[in-house]
């Protein structure tokens, strides 16, 4: 146990070691790429630390952000994490597309390097891009939409964020020390067992997922309890904004779907560390159990990802059509139906594992059933646009791009749900095209739309509209070029995860896909430029009054950014689209609020401490540095006990302070010029909406 102070961590773990020892051409190319990636991580870390020190932001970072239990700040940090990880995973995608474009007979990447790329790309995109993104958006928006001052368990919220960030950091450090798993994002044993993958790769994967899935389980509990218990008076379930409904459904799915993953990875860890035989070939192990457990998580996970995006589209389509959502009740029923059905279809991920036709057919039919509520949603969104007054602002462009592209993704999903066709295209790049076709226009476009939609609420100024449109067009076209060729390639028998191929027929389509990937990276760059330009011009685009889009739900009824306690007085809800009702009845922007002292949670260091310790434990486990595991394990337990004795966990914002801030905002409301919707993307927009001109007829 004390044989070596750093366990199995040696100099060989450095990405350039192999290149120095065996300097052949292929090894050097891969060594340079790996070292470059590691340098990006290290330099990125150094630059961040230097900038924070240069501008003396450590104290601000610690007291205003890292230890903050405020759901709004936690939400923002989640989204920042998602964007950082998106950059890495997208660059990996570009590298993979480049490799395959030149992959006829070889390419430039070694098979092992390519395998790490597809494994980290998938792992990051699911667990460290998509999950943090949607968790961040829900964190920010949902309490505001239900008229709450925070989530039910603010410190737990901070812990969830810290654990997720720790998992992400573990994936990042795998670039610098050692290698990541080559077993794909789903890590099927027995390939990931110690007998076939003895290195640290699968261990990095196991512990990164464990940290992330613990964080997500806590998040699910936190959100569900918040929605059940902290709604404003009058906010009955059937008055919840649809985004909050999808947040509720996603939370329920998280609670039930994350534990099977945690257990499956824990069992795999027992196999790898202690010689158990859960999933080995021999001694009673059976990998089919892993497949079941993983997809018992994995399929609901798909809907954990997509439902919040559906919620975002429901909000944006209704808002930018200037209309109440059509078929609210249907949309709620459809959402919950998808939630239930998502647990009944997992077997369609392995129709080819040898089970009987009855079982395959039953799961195929169950899978297609999900098409019904999904179809209902698409149609209800179109009926929402019917007789609306539609503005094509950035979130609406994403919404329409989504609807058209998602239909194609759903269509290929039905093809895959048919076992007979799946027997052919399973494990092919057709499947890769399908899940990107639902995940990119569905989840990613939805999250970027949400980012554009709620950014003014969070930061008090609008994002640059033109940059957003350029980016949206690049995303949509780039996606189509990158993934439509993969459908054809899959039908031509090309398996997924192929580093190289020998068929010249694949080359033209692979080349098109590579250009698509370049366009997608350009889209991401456009988002970066847009953010830069928007920050530069922030003073011209302030929307402090808080309602830049003529919003319909409660988050728009307060200032932008909102005060830390969200609502000076908890609103009373009388109907759906609560803020629209308030605006119509003249109840919005009332000065005479019964002010009272507001209790808000105090900062807590528990989140960052558990996150840092969790990272250290995981790192120690990966490299077998047992003293590190023991020390930081002790710190975790001690920290939780100490926290148990903490008193004064809240502080009071006085009624006088609330009154002062409210008055400041009311003054701004009084000064602001109401604007019509055709000027909402100009600097004239101060966040006060004029009722939409109802036009010639009604």
């Amino acid at each position: 146990m004390l044989a070596h102070p750093f366990g199995r961590l040696r100099l060989q773990a450095l990405p350039f070691w192999d290149m120095l020892q065996h300097p052949s051409k292929g090894v050097v190319i891969n060594g340079i790429i790996a070292t470059g990636a590691a340098l990006m991580v290290v330099l990125g870390g150094i630059v961040t630390v230097a900038l924070i020190s240069r501008y003396r932001l450590w104290r601000v970072l610690w007291s205003q952000w890292l230890t903050s239990p405020d759901h709004k700040k936690i939400g923002v940090m989640y989204v920042v994490l998602a964007f950082v990880m998106l950059i890495r995973a997208l660059l990996e995608a570009l590298l993979m597309r480049a490799q395959q474009a030149y992959g006829l007979g070889g390419g430039f990447l070694t098979p092992n390097h390519f395998a790490q790329l597809f494994s980290t790309h998938g792992t990051i995109m699911i667990f460290f891009m998509a999950m943090p993104f949607l968790t961040g958006i829900i964190n920010y928006v949902m309490p505001l939409q239900i008229g709450a001052r925070d989530v039910s368990f603010p410190v737990l919220n901070s812990i969830s964020l810290a654990l997720t960030a720790a998992g992400a950091a573990l994936v990042m450090i795998s670039l610098v020390l050692g290698t990541f798993s080559t077993g794909g994002w789903l890590g099927y044993p027995p390939y990931t067992e110690a007998s076939f993958s003895p290195g640290v790769g699968p261990d990095y994967w196991i512990w990164a997922l464990t940290l992330s899935s613990l964080g997500s389980t806590f998040t699910g509990i936190n959100f569900a309890v918040t929605i059940y218990k902290k709604r404003a008076p009058g906010m009955t379930l059937m008055r919840l904004p649809l985004f909050t409904w999808t947040a509720l459904c996603t939370s329920i799915l998280m609670i039930f779907a994350m534990p099977p993953l945690t257990v499956a990875t824990a069992q795999l860890a027992l196999d790898r560390y202690l010689g158990f035989h859960f999933f080995t070939n021999d001694l009673g192990g059976n990998m089919m159990h892993f497949a079941n457990m993983f997809w018992l998580f994995g399929h609901p996970e798909v809907y954990i990802l997509i439902l919040p995006a559906f919620g975002v589209y429901s909000e944006t389509i209704s808002t930018f059509s200037g209309k109440a959502l059509f078929g609210y009740r249907s949309l709620v029923v459809a959402t919950m139906a998808i939630g239930v059905l998502s647990f009944t279809v997992w077997l369609h991920h392995f129709f080819t594992m040898g089970q009987g036709a009855d079982l395959n057919a039953a799961f195929g039919v169950a899978t297609m059933l999900i098409g019904i509520p999904t179809g209902v949603k698409i149609y209800d969104w179109m009926w929402t646009m019917f007789r609306g007054r539609i503005r094509f602002s950035v979130p609406m462009i994403y919404a329409m791009g989504f609807m058209l592209l998602f239909v194609l993704g759903g269509l290929s999903g039905v093809l895959l749900a048919d076992p007979v066709i799946d027997y052919q295209v399973h494990n092919s790049v057709f499947l890769v095209a399908h899940f990107h076709n639902v995940a990119v226009p569905g989840l990613l476009f939805g999250m970027i739309a949400a980012y554009h939609f709620w950014f003014p609420k969070a930061f008090g100024f609008r994002l640059d509209e033109r940059g957003g449109k350029v980016s949206a067009v690049c995303w949509i076209l780039g996606f189509m070029l990158a993934f439509f060729p993969l459908y054809a390639l899959g039908l031509m028998g090309m398996p997924r995860r192929t580093v190289a191929y020998t068929e010249p027929a694949y080359v033209p389509l692979e080349t098109v896909a590579f250009f698509g990937a370049i366009l997608v990276v350009a889209a991401l760059c456009a988002l970066g430029v847009q953010l830069w330009v928007s920050i530069k011009h922030r003073h011209a685009n302030r929307v402090f009054v808080g309602d830049p889009w003529d919003g319909r739900s409660l988050e728009w009824s307060i200032s932008a950014p909102p005060p830390e306690y969200n609502f000076a007085a908890i609103p009373v809800v009388t109907d759906r689209d609560a803020f629209t009702v308030m605006k119509e009845s003249g109840a919005a922007y009332t000065a005479a609020v019964p002010f009272e002292d507001i209790e808000v949670p105090r900062n807590s260091a528990l989140g960052p401490v558990l996150g840092a310790a969790g990272f250290a434990i995981a790192f120690g486990l990966v490299w077998h540095i047992w003293w590190m595991v023991i020390i930081f394990g002790t710190i975790v337990i001690t920290a939780m006990i100490v926290r148990g004795f903490a008193r004064n966990t809240s502080r009071v914002v006085t009624a006088e302070e609330v009154r002062r801030q409210h008055q400041h905002w009311m003054d701004a409301v009084a000064r602001a010029e109401p604007i019509a919707r055709d000027k909402e993307t100009t600097s004239a927009n101060e966040g006060l909406a004029m009722p939409i001109d109802t036009g010639a007829e009604q």
Binding site: P111, G183, P190, Y191, F196, N281, D282, N286, M287, K323, F326, R329, F350, T352, M353, G354, G356, A357, A361, G364, M368, G371, G375, Y379, W383, T384, M385, R387, R389, I390, L404, V407, L411, L415, D418, P419, V420, I421, Y423, Q424, H426, N427, L489, L491, M492, G493, P495, T498, V499, A500, Y501, T502, E503, P504, A505, P508, D678, T694, G695, E697
Partner: protein
């Protein structure tokens, strides 16, 4: 419902299948038949037809309405279209709700009937109806090659799966290593091969030809080279192939098996097995013990050393002694 039976007017459906046709024509350029868009067996033919049927059905009844209605509404009700009606509170209309749920319900119900029937008809375990008895082939997945054993002929091959045209092939599969998935797209379905377990697959080639065969489940560095050629030939040619393997093949014994079980690509294996490999990088084996397959299943599943009963080979090809070795041998999976 066949693709050709749909009328001429369905241009969208044709556009939807255009991609498939393009892929099909590209696939045709290759020396081996790649995909099931160019089917050469009854299973792949049915899958091909079903793909087109479902694509056309979905294109017309699912994609087309949305591709028409959405752009239409977006233009008709754009903000600047002042004369379009505006109904900000219109949010419920019963008959429309019924249609919204009913439409997808009907489509899914129809598809479900289709799926239920075809899944049973094309179950990979189901024997293909034929007047000829199926030929048995046992398949063992290794890193990174497939071993095809013809237990009734006493021969085996790596890199080439020879098939008599018009005779069903009943494959049983296992893996001596991690999970893999065997597929010959031009002939039909794929199925997993898993250590310590046996799965089944039934295929048939209806025409002579050379078809791409592959593993579709990632299993390490040599994954992308784990290809083979399925060669469908006349029954007479197949008899010749078997004779050739019996005379020219490498004797299958524990030392050959140890080489096969090493983590290596097919090319590396052929080089290691000396120059007796067949043309095109394939290698044939003779004197294959009849119980080899079950011995590998048992060994992989128990982790115990490999044993092959001494008498098992003699019955099939009359060359006693060649495989009459019973020895302990650690399998290649433990590294």
């Amino acid at each position: 419902m066949g693709f050709k039976s749909i009328g001429r007017g369905t241009r969208v459906a044709i556009a939807a299948t255009g991609l498939l046709e393009l892929a099909s024509s590209l696939a045709g350029c290759s020396s081996v038949r790649l995909g099931f868009l160019d089917p050469h067996g009854p299973v792949a033919q049915s899958q091909h037809d079903q793909l087109l049927d479902v694509v056309v059905l979905l294109a017309i009844f699912v994609a087309l309405p949305i591709f028409v209605i959405l752009p239409w509404f977006a233009w008709r009700y754009r903000y600047r279209a002042r004369r379009a009606r505006y109904a900000p509170k219109w949010s419920y209309y019963g008959p429309l709700e019924v249609a919204t749920w009913g439409g997808p319900l009907v489509i899914v119900a129809l598809l479900s009937i289709l799926v239920w029937r075809s899944t049973h008809a094309l179950d990979p375990y189901r024997r293909i109806a034929s007047s000829v008895a199926p030929m048995r082939v046992e398949v063992i997945g290794y890193d990174w090659k497939w071993l095809f054993i013809y237990p009734d002929e006493g021969v085996a091959s790596i890199g080439e799966l020879a098939l008599p045209v018009g005779r069903p092939i009943a494959l049983t599969l296992t893996s001596a290593t991690v999970m893999q998935s065997l597929q010959i797209p031009a002939l039909g379905s794929q199925i997993y091969a898993m250590g310590g377990m046996v799965t089944q697959l039934n295929l048939e080639a209806s025409e002579a030809g050379r078809f791409l065969g592959e593993n579709t489940m990632y299993n390490g560095d040599g994954f992308h080279q784990q290809h083979f050629t399925a060669v469908a030939m006349t029954p007479t040619a197949f008899l010749g192939w078997v004779r050739h393997a019996r005379t020219q093949g490498v004797p299958m014994n524990l030392s050959a098996l140890a080489l096969i079980a090493r983590r290596s690509t097919q090319g590396e294996l052929v080089a290691a097995l000396t120059s007796r490999g067949a043309a095109g990088g394939s290698v044939y084996f003779k004197d294959v013990p009849a119980s080899l397959f079950s011995a590998v299943v048992a060994t992989t599943g128990t982790g115990k050393p490999m044993t092959i009963p001494a008498d098992s080979a003699a019955a099939t090809n009359g060359t006693p002694g060649a495989a009459a070795t019973t020895a302990d041998m650690p399998m290649g999976q433990r590294r």
